[in-house]
Amino acid sequence: MRSFKIINVFKTVLFMTVLSLLIEVCNFTSIPPQSYTRIMMHEMYGQRENIDVVFLGASHAYRSFDTRILDEQLGMNTFNMGSSSQSVKDSYFLLREMYSHHLPRYCILEMSWARYNIYDFSSNATSSYILYDYFRPSVNKLYYFFSAFNEQTAINAVLPFRRYPITAPSKYLENIKAKMTKEYFGCSYSVAAYDNEHYAGKGYVYRNKGFSRGNVGKVEPYTWSNLNINNEAVYYFDKIYKLCEENGTELILVTAPVPLASVAAVGNYQEAHEFLDSLAEKYGLVHYDFNLAKKALFENRDEYFYDSGHMSGLGANVFSNKVAGILLSHIKDIDDLNEFFYSDTNELMASVDYVLNVWAESREGKLNAYSFHGTDVKPEYEFLYRTKESDKYAVIKAYSSIDHIYFDLIPADAYEVRVNARAGGSSGAFEQYYIYRLDN
């Protein structure tokens, strides 16, 4: 009887072991090799030196805080733990994970307003999956599991391969081929390198190219509403604060910049800013909102961004130098840093004497131009066209304050229309432009 039981226990253990192995095989063959978080977490666990400064936040964080520059400027070991769509809850569990391996002196929490409002995607567990996958087994991981996933999403956290449905068998082979390399097993940066961006080390992701000068185009940033406050985010903000306090870490709030056109497009950015400021005030923290930074501190230029919210490598380089300066000043308490920031968006927009962006849309037989610009700027638009064969533009309508042209005015052989915009009274060829393709 006893031996019978032992055999059954052995069979069960063997069955479960083979099952776990098969699941691992499925994970290995189904999950694509490229993952910034995989390398970031691996690097965090592998850091021999204590991490002194940790950056937490969504993609704004891992694309804005260049740890190579920050290390050099601050003279400390910095680490960027930003990850795509990271929620404040994700940040909390990442910070807990960080504490089980390092004891940072400063925690820089990136304060993009979108993290504190509720959107359709807010209940999406993707941002947690990509982190949970690479947490080492621990009580914190278990706690994270029960906090981040619900009945619907838990299964895909336990079985990550289910999140990558593959319909073509060749994709399995591609994954296996890409993973059976020294680079993959060693978590080499080259595994997470794309044509236009790459993992540059200690959590920072470098983007090769930003907007061309004057070609910001239409921006569609996250909106803000005081009626849609994400209470869960506020709850975990409180937990982050307390966790930092318990561990003797200073929590500093920094909002990484977005193009000024995005700030204008939000419409009520001041409300978002005030909400974030109120959080800082409630806990006696400092909040540096670089969207309100004066030119003397940080000049918000088109080429520093590659879309309506994220910084290019060039932008991150400039921003990281500036933020390092601010942090050093803050640490040493040498300057009144408020003088580097506008007090509100009215003041900010009043300081802008140019057009921030321009785009065009067809409506009721007309091509309408739209733009964001400084408060006192009266924009003027120029409409040009070119044919497919030619690379030179011909004027349809010269600069004027009229913001549209009728389609009848556009020659039949036109391939695209270019809309130039500039502040009224300016003599420049353009400040912003937009290409409208007629074959759309």
Binding site: F15, L19, E151
Partner: protein, 526 residues
Amino acid sequence: MTFASLYFIFFIITVCTLYFAVPDGMKWIVLLISSYFFYFLLSSVWTVFILFTTATVFISAIAIERITEHSTEYLNKNKELMDEEQVKAYKAKTKRIKKYTLLCGLFANLGILIFLKYGKFLFENINLSTTHIASLNWIILPVGISFYTFQALGYLIDVYRGKYKADHNFFKFSLFLSFFLQIIQGPISRYDELALQLYKPHRFYYARAQNGILLMLWGYFKKLVIADRAALYTSMVFENYIEYAGIEIILAAILYTLQIYGDFSGGIDIIRGIAQILGIDMALNFKRPFFARTVSEFWRRWHISLGSWTKDYIFYPLILSKGFARFRKQMGNALGHYLGKTIPVCVSTIILFLVIGIWHGASWNYVFYGLCNGGIISLGLLLEPVFDKVIKITRLNTGSRAWSVFQMIRTFVVLSIVRMIVNAKSLSAGFSMLVSIGRDWGNMNALKKAIIASGMGKWGAVVLFTAALVMLLVEVLQENGIHIRESISRQNVIVRWITYYGLIFAILFFMMDSSDGIKEFIYAQF
């Protein structure tokens, strides 16, 4: 917490571990605590209703038993002092008191069920026909109320009939009514079949657990791979039925039948599998219903526990009642022997199915569902002599395989149509769908577009079709007397394990993605 969630699996692992770890005397306590924990998670404050039912039925049953005992005791003591008339009068009085006690128990619980489940519907209809009286929109239906109320009433009636003695342990009786595996979607168990199994301690048996797990996996396969995938298409078509016609509607009707079967029988397989691990045999609720050759046979194979409950507690009491005997006699005198015998059966059948229909929910669709099923069966009974004559004249070989297959397909088609009408947004929508079947026949392009629009896609359709074929194949084998699980357990370890892993990975790979949501079990709403 749905049966199809990972949290439920964690819950089951915990319950099973605790159950086998504690001493024998405490095993039923583990089940009771788990059951109330589970029920409270699903219903929170509404748990008060199941407690009310437990308390009232428990007290009523004991009262009925006491009355019987007291009466027997009294008669034994005073038999010599009483004449025959006095004994008769005393017995009639006792019977009356017992009946009133039973009725109190029945009405208290049926009252709650009717108020919570049908109150809103009744008030809505009253409001439609007269001026606005009240709205009961605030009512939330407690989970499993239809199941546990019927189970409790069955117990009370059985105690009244003297089938068994009343349970004197309130906590054990609470377990019988709240047992977490049956609370969401049945089966409606009988006290003499389930209670003792729950109270008795069971040891862990490896082979039994293995069998139970296999049954659970099969249930998950039916629910997650077939039912939830079919739901993508059916919910789209039923929601926007005006946009679809012809073959698109036919596919929706077929897939809905598959969906509801996969969903309900899958759920039952899951709970029967878990019960088996614990050493408890739960009543069979399905017996391959799509092999039924008539609608009445279908109901002996589909939701068996509800069918047998209504038969035992509604149909037979009705048909054997004095009123019906008189009715049968009157009919016999007026319409002859056959019709005189058949019409009362038909009336009882229609009443029985009306109850079954209304049991499902408060809407005219379910009234139609009951009347339709009862009507079809009754019509079949009334026309039986005609059918017999036609068969005789045409010399149809009713014993042939082809005839059986024809009958199965006919039953499937009829019931799929009825279900389609019932599942529609309203009865008029259901009939509109039925009419739409005649439009745009054979528009395969529209069908392809609809499948893609549903989110199932070509690949999903292939998965669904293959999974349905596998299910059909398994059922064909079972129908032919092959016990699949036993056959698997007789194979060598390699074949066995390949089968287990195959089933596990078929579920893991092909179950619906969580972004589309694991659908709640359909019968959990009833």
